[in-house]
């Protein structure tokens, strides 16, 4: 099999897993691991995996709403609404458990509503500290992660230190490979289209992680040594929520841009969660949440978000920043005006796209992206 055929085969496998609805995905999941749903990078996937379960991330789907409105007010984000809808329609009945990490007020309320439905056998509310810049919060978080470990051991399987170390190694290797793909993307964007890239990232939260690592290895091996792309695309940076949906990436790249880096919850923020392998694993899982800025829901100082974003954007060489934000996401929308101001004061233009359902107002979205990219393009 030549490299091109291998590349297509690998991309096909990513597409297969990411194009399915939740109910259909169940048959593609490994049989030896019970799936546990989760939403947020503050859930230590390594622990779920070490217990013998499969961490399965719920990232929102374009599901038709018919039940969720009976439980939720309208001003909840798409992730909250579509996840509850999926639950109520029975799409998630294959899950053995669900893990909520305390992120925002909407998720806090969703956890209560979710438990009332009694559709999934197990639920654990992991109470991540909202303040991640002090010694008392580090001590508290360590205890909370221990509580989560106990829950997994009682309901899934014993977590030995060896298992946990192996799991940490596996997730670290995945992060390294994903980081490599991120690093190569700006030049290899002809070989790795935006939509393929989004699928690669999304698949990593749904499938067996060992198989995922194998696929990432193979993928990097079959990429041509030199990229075909010419440098005629406008480099842009994508900031926002967990929006690794192929269409968004396509719209941006079809408009003549290439996403050189992102700050998405499903993207590079996951890469900031590397765990040192030479220290106590529980200590490592705790400390990583204090060493870098992961989510605007958490307090790490009033300037943490702007400083992180500005540094990353400048490093990426992007000519502009697109904010792709879930409508009703308070954390991002509170930060947005100051972030916009900070970027624009450095001469970096921004565009705000407020999105609900991924299929909503496509035409308008494309027009706005097109106009923004044209504005950034050299005359």
């Amino acid at each position: 099999m030549n490299k091109e055929t291998s590349l297509l085969k690998i991309l096909k496998e990513f597409e297969t897993i990411t194009s399915k609805g939740y109910r259909e995905i169940a048959s593609f999941l490994p049989k030896d691991r019970v799936p546990f749903g989760f939403f947020c990078p503050y859930v230590p996937e390594e622990l779920i995996h070490a217990a013998g379960a499969l961490p399965f991330r719920l990232m929102g789907t374009a599901i038709k709403m018919s039940h969720a409105q009976a439980h939720l007010p309208t001003n909840c984000c798409h992730l909250v609404k579509s996840s509850l809808e999926s639950l109520l329609q029975g799409e998630l009945d294959f899950l053995k458990g669900i893990i909520f990490s305390h992120s925002c007020d909407a998720m806090q309320g969703l956890a209560d509503i979710w438990a009332l439905q009694k559709r999934i056998p197990l639920q654990f509310n992991l109470m991540i500290a909202s303040r991640l810049n002090s010694e008392p919060s580090r001590i508290y978080l360590r205890s909370e992660i221990e509580r989560f470990k106990n829950f997994l051991e009682s309901n899934v399987g014993k977590i030995t230190p060896q298992d946990l170390k192996a799991s940490i190694r596996l997730f670290n290797r995945i992060r390294e490979k994903v980081a490599e793909i991120y690093a190569r993307r700006p030049k290899w964007y002809r070989e790795i289209s935006g939509s393929d890239f989004a699928r690669i990232i999304r698949a990593g939260y749904l499938m067996d992680r060992r198989r995922y690592l194998e696929l990432l290895d193979e993928f990097l091996n079959v990429l041509p040594e030199t990229p075909e792309g010419t440098e005629d695309s406008v480099p842009v940076y994508l900031a926002g929520n967990m929006t690794h949906d192929a269409p968004y990436f396509s719209y941006i790249e079809e408009a003549g841009a290439v996403i050189v880096q992102d700050d998405l919850c499903s993207g590079t923020r996951f890469l900031r969660l590397m765990v040192p392998e030479d220290i106590d694993p529980m200590e490592g899982l705790t400390n990583r949440y204090f060493t870098s800025f992961v989510c605007p829901n958490k307090h790490q100082g009033a300037h943490a978000h702007a400083e992180t974003l500005l540094g990353e954007v400048q490093k990426s060489g992007a000519k502009g920043v697109i904010f792709l934000l879930y409508k009703y996401c308070e954390s991002h929308f509170f930060d947005y005006p100051d972030l916009k101001q900070a970027l624009e004061s450095k001469g970096i233009p921004t565009l705000l796209l407020e999105v609900e359902d991924p299929s909503f107002s496509v035409g308008q979205l494309k027009t706005r992206i097109q106009a923004f990219i044209e504005m950034l393009s050299p005359i």
Binding site: A70, H71, L72, P73, N75, C76, H102, C104, D105, A106, Q108, G109, L110, A111, D112, I113, A115, L116, N125, M127, A129, S130, R131, S134, P136, S137, I139, Y140, S143, E144, R147, P296, N297, H299, A302, H303, K327, Y328, E330, S331, F333, F334, D335, Y336, P337, D338, K340, Q341, E354
Partner: protein, 431 residues
């Protein structure tokens, strides 16, 4: 027909004009509203508080902005004036000034979907407008997330805008029971909080003064609890609409002798009403419980609508949130206080909220309940649809959900709400 209730403290009209107005209005009512006489003391108290807040330098005071559920006792113990942006937001709402302030914040790029208390505060900071005009710059901020996660972001915005330090007091949400390590965490933060204050104010914390402040705080809180409990009587001597107004001192001034003095006065007046068997309204046929923050800009109309049907709000989940129910005085003071702040109503899960609503309905002998689905308060509003079902299942009492926003009237359809309330009251009457 018209009813009235306690006015906002800073009305432009003079006291005499105001009292004359009340007398004229109440005389025309078919359901007579009894004005609370202590209201004039309340107004004087709140005018004095806001006067100090507006001119802290005249009193040699530093000002800290603090969230409504934050531990205020250490601030008073350190001689700091606490300012409550949420309380101010409520005032802007009652004065119907919120919409223009929200729009000012939106003009600067803040989303219309954000909490209207926050938008009001941010808009007021930008424009210098509001019932008090331009507010003095805070010296520092104290943010406690026991009421919501919104305040984290809101206070970060203001910390950047004013370039002042913020102390963030983290109280993890409690779905079931509080864990030992959670309690330890909030207690440890109390120590950090004190160190933060000592650093900002450059003088040591006095345990003796703190104890005195706490003792006043607990006394005010207990008086407030006793006043609210009096509404269990038939007829209720005060309505929840009264409580929405008269709660201001327990929020802003708990820990001071003024709050204690005021609530003693109010309690005395309510006791007299109980002795005389008179209620807040002459006619009390239907007793209701309210859930969520009031609709500040429409309190007057809602009160009028309800009373015209003989309905009185006798209890609510909001004003009782300042009752510090879980205060454990067997613990060292600082630890007990930390535990009480970590376990307030809004920081508790669904089951606690169900029990609290059911218990209020039972204790206050209510015929039903109204839930305000508040666009600006997700912690209060998410889960209300399920809460309504569960409370009705437990108590057999019907509930109504109305949609609004606590200060932004752009998200409110008064005629629709009025229609819903009328139908709801008819249902209760036919039962």
């Amino acid at each position: 027909m018209r009813n009235t209730f306690s006015p906002s403290p800073l009305r432009g009209e003079g006291e005499k004009v105001w009292q004359k107005k009340i007398m004229t209005e109440t005389a025309n009512e078919t359901n007579f509203y009894r004005k609370i006489n202590s209201t004039s003391a309340y107004r004087r108290l709140m005018i004095a508080y806001y006067f100090m807040m507006k001119h802290p330098n005249w009193f040699g005071k530093k000002v800290a902005w603090i969230t409504s559920g934050g531990p205020v006792e250490p601030l008073y113990a350190m001689g700091v004036l606490p300012f409550y942006p949420e309380n101010y937001g409520a005032m802007c709402g009652a004065f119907r000034m919120s919409v223009s302030l929200c729009e000012a914040a939106e003009h600067k790029g803040y989303s219309h979907d954000l909490c209207s208390y926050a938008l009001t505060d941010i808009g007021s900071s930008f424009t210098g407008k509001g019932p008090l005009g331009r507010l003095p710059k805070p010296d520092f901020l104290v943010c406690c997330n026991n009421i919501c996660g919104t305040v984290i972001k809101w206070y970060e915005v203001q910390a950047r805008a004013f370039n002042v330090p913020v102390f963030f007091f983290d109280t993890p949400f409690i779905y079931d029971e509080i864990e030992d390590h959670t309690l330890k965490y909030v207690q440890d933060q109390m120590k950090e909080y004190i160190s933060f204050l000592e650093k900002q104010l450059k003088h040591p914390f006095s345990e003796k003064r703190f104890q005195k402040v706490c003792s006043r705080s607990f006394e005010a809180v207990n008086l407030w609890k006793e006043i609210l409990e009096m509404a269990r009587r038939h007829p209720a001597p005060l309505a929840a609409f009264d409580a929405f107004i008269h709660m201001a001192p327990v929020v802003t001034l708990r820990g001071t002798p003024w709050a204690v003095r005021y609530y003693k006065k109010l309690k005395k007046e309510m006791e007299q009403r109980v002795r005389q068997g008179v209620g807040a309204f002459a006619h009390e046929e239907i007793r209701l419980v309210w859930d969520n923050i009031p609709i500040w800009y429409d309190i007057r109309n809602l009160s009028k609508l309800l009373s015209s049907q003989g309905a009185v709000l006798v209890a609510d989940t909001y004003t009782s949130a300042w009752a510090l129910d879980q205060l454990d005085l067997a613990q060292p003071l600082m630890n007990g206080l930390a535990g009480a702040y970590a376990t307030i109503h809004l920081n508790r899960g669904f089951e606690y909220r169900v029990q609290k609503m059911a218990s209020l309905i039972q204790k206050y002998d209510a015929h039903g309940f109204i839930m305000h689905s508040n666009r600006s308060c997700k912690p209060y509003s998410l889960g209300q649809y399920d809460l309504k079902q569960e409370v009705t299942r437990l108590t057999g009492k019907p509930g109504l959900i109305i949609e609004a926003d606590h200060t932004d009237s752009r998200s409110y359809a008064p005629e629709e709400v009025e229609k819903q309330i009328r139908i709801f009251l008819d249902i209760i009457k036919t039962k």
